[in-house]
């Protein structure tokens, strides 16, 4: 599998041991390397990433146990084997507890060393293979989600596209009743499309992908773009959008794609459940180590008994009549999951008939924080 010869490093202060081990290693067809103390050995491990390391337990300077601990911090896939003096089984046991794969006692025969090396390299091969399979599986899982959702969406989108063309009269005249049915079919399919998208989001969320994608992000910039995006449709219903924020933009530790989704969901809810002449105000507040983004509306509000449940999956408050497409009931639960994956939180206050206010707390980007400031985890 690995085309290069296995590299085996010997760390021992005795020159005779280094030389004899190296000879045996080379005879077995492997690459030997050696270091006469712990510090030198660790440097070589960092640079060359050997497959296996033989470490003498008793050396001047860093002793074998210390070296053992540091090896694992550098590369946990390296196989460490300790060399112990005659009659010091106790220290060998301690070394095994500290993560050594095996031990070999001085004086040892070439055959004993060869056996130990063979077993160690076999172990190394297994570890690397497992690691590779694990990585492959992860990539496959991620691609699988994307692939399946693409294949579910493609037919729906193709049908919707035909409907668009028919409804635009580009495929001949359409009777009123037919147009009505096609329009309804189209709305139902849009609902299905939303469900597929939401399902995809939840599947992705469970993989813990967000945490790896966090980087400093200008939050005001993001909110401004979303407001500009929703403004035209909101104005059609005479709903006014505005932003209140300090002139300075704040950097949060965030993932653009998913945060966009959170605020897009909150703002579109605030617009959809509003009243004509109402308003949606987004307020960005600076806290010491976090930024709070509040989305306030003057809409119909949420009854007290529903409030604790609105972040649950598939929970829907049937509160708007004549709504074209039913919501999937997943939007807020996805938003909550996204915010939690950012190490933030989401809260709601609402009064029936007056409006609701959702506030999202997000940790500031590390660059924005004072280095000396104590780190607290926001929950």
């Amino acid at each position: 599998m690995n085309p290069r010869k296995p590299l085996i490093l010997v760390i021992d202060d005795e020159e005779s041991i280094r030389d004899s081990c190296s000879q045996i290693i080379a005879k077995e067809g492997h690459l030997p390397d050696s270091a006469e103390n712990g510090a030198e050995g660790l440097e070589k491990i960092k640079v060359a990433h050997p497959d296996m390391v033989l470490v003498d337990l008793k050396m001047p300077g860093k002793n074998g146990i210390e070296v053992l601990e540091e090896i694992q911090a550098i590369d946990s896939t390296v196989i460490p084997v300790v060399i112990t003096g005659y009659g010091t089984v106790e220290s060998a046991v301690e070394a095994i507890k500290k993560g050594a794969f095996d031990f070999i006692q001085k004086p040892f025969t070439p055959e004993e060393l060869r056996m130990t090396i063979r077993r160690g390299l076999e172990r190394r091969r297994l570890i690397l293979e497992t690691e590779m399979l694990r990585r492959e599986k992860k990539i496959m899982e991620e691609n699988f989600i994307t692939l399946v959702s693409h294949q579910m969406k493609s037919p729906v989108v193709a049908i919707l596209q035909y409907f668009e063309v028919i409804l635009a009269g580009m495929a001949g005249e359409v009777e009123k009743r037919q147009a009505h049915m096609i329009r309804r079919s189209s709305e139902r399919l849009h609902g299905l499309l939303n469900l597929i998208n939401d399902w995809l989001d939840i599947a992705r969320m469970n993989k813990g992908i967000i945490a790896g994608k966090l980087r400093p992000l200008a939050i005001k910039d993001l909110v401004e773009k979303l407001i500009a995006f929703f403004e035209p449709t909101a104005l059609e219903d005479q709903i006014f959008l505005s932003l209140e924020s300090a002139s300075k933009d704040f950097l949060v530790q965030g993932d653009m794609e998913t945060l966009e989704q959170v605020f897009s969901n909150l703002i579109s809810n605030a617009v959809n459940y509003n009243r004509p002449g109402g308003s949606v105000t987004v307020i960005i507040k600076d806290e010491e180590e976090s930024v709070i983004v509040e989305v306030q509306d003057t809409g119909i509000g949420i009854a007290e008994e529903h409030l604790p449940l609105i972040f649950d999956q598939f929970y829907r408050v049937d509160r708007k009549e004549g709504q074209k497409t039913k919501s999937t009931g997943l939007g807020l639960s996805i938003a909550k999951k996204i915010v939690a994956a950012h190490g933030g939180s989401i809260q709601v206050v609402s009064e029936l008939g007056k409006g609701s206010s959702f506030s999202v707390t997000l940790p500031k980007a590390r660059a924005e924080n004072d280095v000396s400031a104590k780190k607290t985890t926001l929950v």
Binding site: Q161, V165, A171, L193, N197, L200, F229, E257, E260
Partner: protein, 135 residues
């Protein structure tokens, strides 16, 4: 006075989608050309020299659309040809407001449009991007 109408190339791996969008383009009396994959798309670009390209981002691989766009935009002959990215909402890797490939030095499109496409919206975006004499 007869004006020479523009040729629009649509590259998408869904034949039904191509069929539907072709009728939108044809309704505005543009010449329509189609391709089902990036390779076929490239050939049509050279053979028909389209005035505008509608490009599906997500074909066989997620990066097909992106890399084809990049090679169009960095080519000598077609760097000025407008490209509109087409994708089902949220299907693209990045944000819907931003072409993230720019970070890796990739050249982005001139516009984005979501599937399913609204016919009027598509036609007005096409008109905006075409040179005046071809509209």
């Amino acid at each position: 006075m007869d004006k020479k109408k523009a040729t629009i190339l649509i590259i998408d791996d869904d034949p039904d989608f191509l069929d539907a969008v072709s009728s939108i383009i044809a309704s505005a009396h543009y010449n329509v050309s189609t391709a089902l994959d990036p390779k076929g798309g490239k050939e049509k670009i050279y053979s028909e020299k389209p005035d505008l390209i509608l490009l599906d981002i997500m074909m066989d691989s997620l990066f097909d659309g992106f890399s084809l766009c990049h090679s169009i935009k960095t080519s000598k002959e077609f760097s000025q040809t407008p490209v509109i990215f087409v994708s089902a909402v949220k299907e693209q890797t990045g944000s819907r407001f931003r072409f993230e490939g720019a970070e890796q030095g990739m050249r982005g499109p001139d516009d984005y449009i979501d599937k399913p496409i609204n016919p009027d919206d598509l036609l007005s975006r096409i008109e905006k991007l075409l040179p005046k004499e071809k509209r």
